[in-house]
């Protein structure tokens, strides 16, 4: 009801979508930094972060632009603030791509097969992307293979959780923010 004003004035982004993207960005950061689940099978202590869940949710509910910005910046911000500074630029690009692709695939059709397709693509981007990134960082093609299992579990668990949560969340959001 209020966002027209900004659009009328020709701003690139409406204030509401700016605020939503910013908050989604925070969610990605918070889930990466604090929300963890303990897995029954445990590679590195078994704690995995759920940062990819809000990334997927943001992309599916609010589209590719929000998904890209919230995901890329949110997770890069985590890298920046917690000592993975070197990874931040790569994360920005890789996770940004994930958000964009998920948003783009689910833009027209919101149904399970499309969610699944989108999330599989995102997994592929994540694993491939970080493989290449670490190959650049370490100047070596073998070492980055070691982080593939971790990434796979990370993003796979997030994909499963997203699939479980997304429909109830979308229905609930329809009563509130998506209404307008």
């Amino acid at each position: 009801m209020t966002t027209k004003t900004a659009a009328q004035r020709g701003t690139a982004v409406s204030v509401k979508s700016l605020a939503i993207t910013a908050i989604c960005l925070v969610l990605v950061y918070v889930f990466t930094a604090v929300v963890n689940i303990r897995l029954p099978f445990a590679p590195n202590g078994g704690l995995i972060h759920l940062g990819n869940v809000p990334l997927f949710v943001a992309a599916i509910l609010f589209g590719k632009r929000t998904g890209m910005i919230a995901g890329g910046i949110g997770m890069a911000l985590f890298d920046l603030l917690s000592g993975w500074t070197l990874w931040a630029p790569f994360t920005l690009v890789i996770v940004g791509c994930m958000g964009f692709v998920v948003g783009a695939v689910t833009e027209k059709k919101k149904s399970f097969p499309f969610y699944l397709l989108a999330l599989l693509l995102a997994c592929a981007i994540k694993i491939g992307g970080y493989y290449l990134a670490e190959a650049v960082i370490y100047q070596n093609w073998v070492v980055p293979l070691t982080s593939i299992p971790g990434n796979l579990i990370q993003v796979g668990a997030a994909a499963i959780i997203t699939l479980v949560v997304i429909e109830p969340l979308r229905l609930a959001a329809c009563h509130t923010i998506l209404r307008k």
């Binding site: 109830p168 229905l171 609930a172 509130t176």
Partner: protein, 285 residues
């Protein structure tokens, strides 16, 4: 009266051994009795949230004990888990915790976690909805379509459905209009009487606690400086003011009347008491 919860020497320290170390509760002792209404008053940040979260085992004491019906709630894992069903805690602005597709399912979340059978769950959901003042047709609707006040009732029903022996409510009427607030407080009283439950009410309204509580607990800087009947607690007017609290309006008015040279007992806290006191004094004149 039977004690139901006993707090013994409870101390809680947040982030111990760091520069942010903060003593939220300091050697607190308190006994809570079966069937009473206990009012908790204190400023934001006084430690009262930490206190109530100890009562259902959400927060673990740094030292000291919480006994529920004589047993330490941390003595066994099963007990710590089941204590949450015995001691129901309704957080501030509980409407933000709703998540299910329908009101019915949301209220059923607690009973379902108790692993009750479907028939019992159904009975409890309907009973709790009635206690919370929700009509049957609301049960099939989405909680997100309801008004703020209705959502609050759904959230309270979600805790009542676990049929806790102790029901703790943190500011249950915050942000509601006076009629909505009064009606929710009345609903809670109905539940207490029907189930012989203990009710612990955290409130900023001195008038509400004076009217509803059998006993009051004052929390200030992690300690409980005053515990007693409203009359006992409110007799420390100046000390309460220094803790950012106050005495009920009627008490203030009557103290002024007395200061004007009228011989009247200022220990009056509710409109009903005030009215009775005035009529009584007029009769004696």
């Amino acid at each position: 009266m039977e004690p139901i919860i006993e707090i013994k020497n409870l101390t809680h320290i947040y982030s111990p051994n760091t520069p942010f170390e903060q003593r939220a509760l300091d050697s607190v002792n308190l006994t809570i009795y079966q069937g009473e209404t206990l009012g908790i008053i204190g400023r934001t940040g006084s430690g009262k949230s930490t206190l109530i979260q100890h009562l259902n085992g959400l927060v673990r004491p740094t030292s000291g004990q919480i006994l529920f019906e004589g047993q330490d709630i941390w003595s066994s894992k099963e007990l710590t888990h089941t204590i949450r069903f015995q001691v129901g805690l309704v957080f501030q602005y509980p409407e933000y915790q709703l998540f299910e597709e329908t009101v019915y399912k949301d209220i059923a979340f607690g009973p379902r976690n108790m692993k009750l059978d479907e028939g019992e769950i159904d009975r409890r959901v309907r009973r709790a909805a009635a206690f919370a003042g929700l009509r049957d047709e609301v049960l099939s609707r989405s909680p997100f379509e309801l008004s703020g006040g209705q959502k609050r009732r759904v959230a309270i029903a979600g805790v009542i459905a676990m049929e806790p022996k102790v029901l703790i409510l943190d500011e249950p009427t915050a942000g509601l209009d006076p009629a909505g607030a009064a009606s929710i407080l009345a609903n809670i009283e109905t539940y207490r009487q029907a189930n012989h439950a203990t009710v612990i009410l955290v409130s900023h309204s001195m008038e509400d606690v004076a009217r509803l509580a059998d006993r009051l607990v004052v929390v200030s800087q992690g300690t409980l400086p005053y515990v007693g009947t409203p009359r006992e607690v409110f007799s420390h007017g100046e000390a309460l003011e220094s803790m950012g609290l106050a005495v009920p309006a009627m008490n203030r008015v009557f103290s002024r009347v007395r200061a004007m040279g009228v011989d009247i007992d200022p220990a009056v806290y509710t409109v009903e008491q005030a009215k009775a006191a005035i009529l009584d004094a007029l009769r004696k004149k």
